[in-house]
Symmetry: C2
Subunit: 199 residues, 2 copies
C-alpha cells in the first residue's frame, strides 16, 4: 500500500494549500496536513523535515508557477505588455471560486519572514514594470488596484459583484496598455481614461 514515487511532495503541497483554504491558519498543524494529504505524519516529515520547510515549499511552488506563467505570457517576442499580463493573470487567479494563496496567512502566522520571497518577487516585478511604463503613476495605480483586488479576495470578502470585478478588470487591462510603452502594441484610442496621472 505504499506509493513509491516522489509524487507525495506535490500531493502534500496541494493538500496543505487546500487545508489552509478550508480551515483557518490555527488548524494548520502538521498532523492536520498529513491527515488531509492522506499521508502519515512520518511521511510528511520525510518530505518536509520541519514545518518551516513546508511553508517554504508552499511559497516557492506558488511563486514559481506564477512567474512561469508571467514569463510565458509576456516574453520579449510577445505582444502583451508585462503589466497587462500581470493584470490578466491576477484576474484569472481572482476569478476562481477560492483564493489560491490562502496559505499565506498560515505562513504569516508562523513567521512573517516566510513571505520574504514574495516581497522580493514583487520588487523584481515592479522594477520591470517601472522600466516599461510610459506613465509610471498610472502603472502604479493599476498595479495597486490589482493588489487590492487580490487581497480582498484573499481575506474572503465579497465586496464587489462579479460584474464590477469584470468591469474594473477590463478598465485595468486597457489602462495597462495605455500606461506601457510597447512600440508594437496597437492601442491608439484613449476612451475615458480611468487611470490617468495628474500632477
Amino acid at each position: 500500500m505504499a506509493g513509491h514515487r516522489p509524487s507525495s511532495r506535490k500531493k502534500i503541497l496541494a493538500a496543505a494549500a487546500d487545508l489552509a483554504r478550508q480551515s483557518g491558519p490555527v488548524r494548520f498543524s502538521l498532523d492536520a496536513v498529513a491527515r488531509h494529504a492522506g499521508v502519515s505524519k512520518g511521511g510528511l516529515l520525510y518530505n518536509f523535515p520541519t514545518k518551516a520547510k513546508l511553508m517554504q515549499g508552499l511559497v516557492e511552488d506558488y511563486l514559481g508557477e506564477f512567474e512561469e506563467a508571467l514569463d510565458a505570457a509576456s516574453g520579449p517576442d510577445k505582444e502583451e505588455s508585462l503589466l497587462a499580463a500581470y493584470v490578466r493573470l491576477s484576474a484569472k487567479e481572482c476569478e476562481s471560486a477560492q483564493p489560491a494563496a490562502a496559505w499565506i496567512f498560515a505562513a504569516m502566522a508562523e513567521d512573517p519572514d516566510f513571505l520574504e520571497p514574495i516581497h522580493a518577487f514583487r520588487k523584481r516585478l515592479l522594477d520591470r514594470l517601472r522600466a516599461e511604463a510610459s506613465d509610471p503613476t498610472a502603472m502604479m495605480v493599476a498595479f495597486l488596484a490589482v493588489e487590492g483586488l487580490r487581497n480582498i479576495k484573499l481575506f474572503g470578502s465579497k465586496t464587489l459583484t462579479p460584474e464590477e470585478r469584470e468591469d474594473v478588470l477590463a478598465a485595468l487591462l486597457s489602462a495597462a496598455e495605455d500606461a506601457s510603452r510597447r512600440p508594437e502594441a496597437v492601442v491608439a484610442y484613449s476612451s475615458g481614461s480611468v487611470v490617468k496621472s495628474s500632477g
Copy 2:
C-alpha cells in the same frame, strides 16, 4: 455600557495591537498580551473573558475609530467627497512607520470570522461610494488601489519608495474628486443650506 473606568481595557487593547505589530501572530497569546500590557493574566481574562472577545474588541475599536474619523471628514456639510476622505485617511494610516492593524493577522489566524465586521464595514462604505460616484469604474479603481496600498503595508513589504507612494496618493486623491459627483463642492453656488443628495 459606557462610563466605567476602562483604564485597563484600553491599555490592554493598545498593548495587544502593539504586540501583534512587533511579534508575529504566533506569539500573540493571552500570556504575552497580559505581560505586554502590564496586567496579570487573570486581569486580562476579567476584561476579555475569552481570546475571541479580545479579538472582537480589537476589531471594533479599530473600526469605530476609523468610521468616526471618516464621518468627521466627510459629513453632509463638508466639502470633501467620501472617496477623497477615504483615500486621505487611508494614506495617513499608511504613512505611519508601523501598520495600525497588524493584529488582523492574529485575528485571521484565530478565526477568519473575526474579520466579518470589517467586511461589513467595507461593504457599507462601498455602497456609499457607489452612490456618490459619477464614474463608478474610476471610483472602484481608486478604492482598490488604496486597498492594495494598505495591504502591501500590512504585509510588511517595502515595494514602493516613499516618493512613489506620495505620487500615487496624490493621483488617487485628485482622481477621487473627479470620480465623485459633489454638486456644490467647488462650484460657485455659495448659498449656505443645500439639500444633501445621497441615494
